[in-house]
């Protein structure tokens, strides 16, 4: 299992059957592939759907049925579609139990930066700020370090924020962190790593409890 699979598998353990969840693009969307037996989620696509299903077989595409990346989608039995204002009322109103998002940076106050790198990448925030502002759990799923080896979990984010103090969990290829008002609680580390190795690769301060679990071992 590689790091990305570890992240997706661990996030997948956070849900109970029937939860309404929004999965962002990239790594987060793969969480749906690792759900434990007996757990089925209602996936929300923020463009206006509950019950997002898999990509249709070629030839069955419907131009009026697409996911939050505007790619062809199916809708599961019992699902429904609606307009954008309703969709974001669900999101901001706290009716979506969790959002799983990637990020460039997260910090020890629970702030998140994932929508722009000034001068380099300026796509816009889309629905990310609303998702962070309204979902009950804001789960950041990302690699622990950049390709250059720098920590992505910082004392303070340096990039323009998507959300201020809204992350509830940070799940990386090295650890599982719960964000508390007093700081980042290191709950689990990845198999094969020591606590010291995780601390060394993390710029933010971590709260180390007496017992730190191993990710995916229960």
């Amino acid at each position: 299992m590689d790091g990305r699979q570890l992240i997706a598998s661990r996030v997948a353990m956070m849900f109970k059957n029937g939860d309404l969840v929004n999965l962002g693009f990239g790594l987060p969307v793969t969480v749906a592939d690792y759900l434990p037996n007996g757990v089925e989620l209602w996936l929300q696509a923020e463009n206006g759907m509950i019950g997002q299903g898999p990509t249709p077989e070629a030839g069955n595409d419907d131009v009026d049925l697409f996911n939050a990346g505007a790619l062809p989608s199916t809708i599961l039995p019992g699902g429904c579609t609606f307009d954008t204002a309703t969709s974001f009322s669900l999101i901001r109103g706290g009716h979506v139990s969790a959002t799983v998002l990637g990020a460039f940076e997260a910090d020890q106050e629970g702030s998140v930066a994932n929508w722009m790198i000034p001068g380099v990448l300026i796509p816009g925030m889309g629905g990310a700020m609303d998702l962070c502002a309204g979902c009950k759990r804001v789960i950041i799923a990302m690699e622990h370090c950049t390709k250059e080896g720098a920590s992505k979990i910082l004392k303070k984010c340096t990039l323009p924020l998507t959300a201020f103090k809204r992350a509830t969990h940070i799940v990386t290829d090295l650890c599982f962190i719960e964000v508390l008002p007093e700081g980042l609680l290191l709950k689990e580390i990845a198999p094969g790593y020591t606590i010291d190795e995780v601390v060394e690769r993390t710029e933010a301060d971590l709260i180390i409890p007496d017992i730190v679990g191993i990710m995916l071992e229960k």
Partner: protein, 237 residues
């Protein structure tokens, strides 16, 4: 009841240089494609575009950006349109980024007679700059102001001749909201049905909001977008 069904020429007669225009769109989907093509052929410029995204260079309202018909975009996302990015970086296109849910609510306010909305979205981020902040029951909110336009171009599935509109699946998008928030509303539809044949429960936009109904050409059904065709040619998902 007078029919509101018009030709594309009649519809385009309402679109001029410099208008503020709202368009249904989501990354190129759910968009009034034939009206957009018509605006480009007419050579309109200087538009202020209010849309959820700026589409793709060859899909949806993104074609207007590619054709340099837009001077300002009020939108949540430009990342799928390299023309938006290029024009923004050289100062040809002004972009006001608005979170997607906030954009929906600002348009809703514009259409619903409300003076603004208080949202927690964007508190503590660059989005709050220059905005009034209010604390309600101990929680911070930003005051976001209404958005209206001169013209809205709405994409719907079906219409009757007096302008009742029915939407389909995820193509509802922002179309139902923008139909309330513009001085003049033109709907592009795939199918015209007889007067009084839509079930009243199925009407997503009531007829008095709609000024013109334009029925798409021969290939009424929206064709597969170029990005989907490329996706399937790659055998991808």
């Amino acid at each position: 009841m007078d029919s509101k069904v018009v030709s594309i020429e009649e519809a385009l007669s309402k679109i001029h240089d410099g208008l503020k225009i709202m368009i249904g769109d989501f990354l190129g989907m759910a968009a009034p494609d034939e009206l957009i093509e018509g605006i480009i052929k007419k050579g309109v410029t200087g538009l202020t575009l209010i849309s959820v995204t700026t589409g793709k260079p060859d899909e949806g309202c993104g074609k207007l950006v590619a054709a340099k018909a837009v001077k300002k975009a009020i939108t949540s996302h430009i990342g799928t349109n390299k023309c938006s990015r290029e024009q923004m970086l050289v100062g040809e296109l002004e972009v006001e980024f608005v979170p997607q849910g906030t954009l929906a609510e600002r348009v809703r306010c514009g259409g619903a007679g409300l003076g603004g909305v208080l949202t927690p979205t964007g508190v503590g981020t660059p989005v709050e700059e220059g905005k009034k902040k209010l604390v309600i029951d101990g929680k911070e909110y930003l005051l976001e102001l209404p958005l209206r336009a001169d013209v809205a171009l709405v994409k719907a599935w079906r219409a009757d001749p007096i302008g009742n509109l029915q939407y389909r699946r995820t193509s509802t998008m922002n179309n139902a909201q923008i139909a309330l928030a513009a001085d003049f509303v033109i709907a592009e539809v795939e199918e015209l049905v007889d007067f009084a044949s839509l079930d009243p429960d199925d009407v997503g936009t009531p007829s008095p909001l709609v000024d013109m109904v334009f029925v798409r050409g021969k290939e009424n059904k929206k064709p597969m977008p170029p990005s989907w065709i490329r996706l399937r040619e790659r055998g991808g998902k």
